[in-house]
Amino acid sequence: MTTTTLAMRDVWAETLIELGSVNPDLLVLDGDLGTSTRADRFAAAHPNQFLQMGIAEQNMIGVAAGLSTLGYVPWLSSFTVFFTHRSIDQIRVVVAQPHANVKIGAAYSGLLTGKTGKTHQDVEDLAIMRAMPGMTVLAPGDASECAAMVRWATDTPGPVYLRLARDAGPDLFDGGYRFEPSRVIPLRDGSDVLIVSTGVQSARCVEAAVLLEARGISAAVLHVPSVKPVDEEAIATAARGVPLVVSVEEHTILGGLGGLVAEILGERAPRRLVRIGIRDAWGESASNAFLLDRHGLSAERVAERVADGLARVPSST
């Protein structure tokens, strides 16, 4: 894997600039975080398609819903936490319930938010958004996937929640990647254990699988970019081939990807499950390396937990 030169927020903005050139109905509304989310670049490229909504996220959601009734495709720019916590009733009532064509660009998701600390680290967003009827919930694993999702979401009617990472990460896919809703993507084959992950955590899981291979453990990695809708049977099928499934997410283990995997295993393919993620705790200001280690999300820590989990699987299974 190579490290991309484009952070996810950069590719989000660059893709919207490109789409905005051919689609005058594409708008970007910003909650005064455009210099962080990179919406400022869109504003510079398409000033007539940019609307500054100020530090007032709840109103921004309603304005977007109103604009969508006139055929506009509003993309929203703010931090994840100001969507899924401050404005959740607005998203629920005027976006999700009427199935408004509003696209939520949730920047600065998860723990790695530039040392902002617990107020800004949203590690509950997948659980919240996944529970919302009619909402499409996407978590891109790299820049190419992010760009493809932005294109797909812009062209597809209905509300979309796009979970964006702040920083650059390893590339998983090339520029030819095409997004399909529901699809889960095997990143690596393996026969001893199945690691299921989402978002930028998937790249760290691939690194963990390489570390495990050196220990003689064959770990498959399954990437879930479309948290909702999701191909449940594909996850169940992958789980049936191994004695242990490990879910890994830069998110609380309650109700997000770990919850999703637990539901699928419980109903379709009973297997032992280890959930790696934030264990019912708040974040804190710290370096990325510190936070990944603290919450067991670095490649090394994931590998340790997977090996430990395998050691606990009864040999008869």
């Binding site: 309603g62 819903a65 109103g66 604009l67 006139l70």
Partner: protein
């Protein structure tokens, strides 16, 4: 039901008579359903009738007409009042009002735009309708469409902080094609029983209801018109002025109203916020509302009667 003129202009009609019939239909629908709000729909009825029969440029037989004026009922709990007026105006059969609040009905307890054509927004969680109206007004201007957007809020609803976000942004974008109408009946579900000192006020009416909302809105950059919300001439004049003589910014119409207006034993009484009338009460209300001419009303915005 006569078809609307093709330009969406309004036929000359007996607004007071329609409003009396509308109030009775509200009571009958709530009684039939066994649930629903009364006080708010009755305070807003004259405003709704004036809008739908004398102000809005609409085509009830073509609810998606692109140049229609938009109306959003941000105080969504008054849904039955809006449904009644839309039915009287020809958006839906009067008989459909019997389905209010029932399973599979287009007439949900709070307005659901996915079910009933003609609703411009789904509302019910207070404070949100004005933001949607801002988006529509902004979009109409960007589309260069001449339509105007009206949003009705309750005065209690202005306690929601989000309303002030929307008021601020509407003025920043100088939305001359947006009008907020505040149904200012001074009451809300429970209200304000205690003074700041914790003493029983003997009244649940908002003690700040007469404080200068006008000054606050003007400070936010809105043009403000204050009217009696039960005076049809004043309502039509204010709404028409807000739309047709629009200045460079949005207009707010502060409409002083009486909660429960039109039925003597409901006027100004908080217990009729969301009570279902008994058969006896319904008959008494019907007798009052069926009498022609000017029935006796309390003065606008009286002190609340003790329960």
């Amino acid at each position: 039901m006569a078809l609307a003129p093709p330009d969406g202009s309004q036929p000359a009609v007996d607004l007071a008579g329609i409003a009396r019939r509308g109030r009775l239909l509200v009571l009958e629908s709530v009684a039939h359903s066994g649930a629903g709000h009364i006080g708010g729909p009755l305070s807003a009825m004259d405003l709704l009738v004036a809008l739908y029969f004398s102000v809005l440029r609409i085509r009830p037989d073509q609810p998606d007409w692109p140049d229609r004026d938009r109306f959003i009922l941000s105080k969504g709990h008054s849904a039955i009042g809006l449904y009644v007026v839309m039915a009287l105006r020809g958006y839906l059969p009067i008989e459909d009002l019997e389905t209010f609040d029932s399973g599979d009905s287009r007439l949900q307890g709070h307005p659901d735009m996915t079910r009933l054509p003609g609703l411009e927004a789904s509302t019910g969680s207070l404070g949100q309708g004005l933001a949607v109206g801002v988006g529509i007004a902004l979009g109409l201007r960007m589309r260069e469409r001449p339509a105007h957007t009206f949003v009705m809020l309750g005065d209690g609803e202005t306690q929601e902080g989000m309303v002030w976000e929307s008021l601020a942004i509407a003025a920043r974008y100088r939305l001359g094609n947006l009008t907020a109408i505040v149904d200012r009946n001074g009451l809300q579900q429970y209200g304000w029983p205690l003074s700041p000192d914790g003493l029983d006020r003997g009244d649940r009416r908002d003690p700040l209801a007469e404080i200068d909302l006008r000054a606050a809105l003007e400070a936010f950059g809105w043009r403000v018109i204050e009217i009696d919300g039960h005076d049809f001439g004043a309502i039509v004049a204010a709404c028409t002025d807000a739309r047709d003589a629009a200045g460079p910014g949005p207009t707010a119409i502060l409409a002083r109203t009486v909660k429960g207006r039109g039925v003597s034993f409901m006027e100004g009484r908080t217990e009729w916020h969301a009570r279902v009338p008994t058969a006896v009460e319904l008959e008494a209300a019907r007798a009052e509302l069926s009498s022609s001419g000017d029935e006796a009303h309390g003065e606008a915005a009286p002190a609340e009667s003790a329960p």
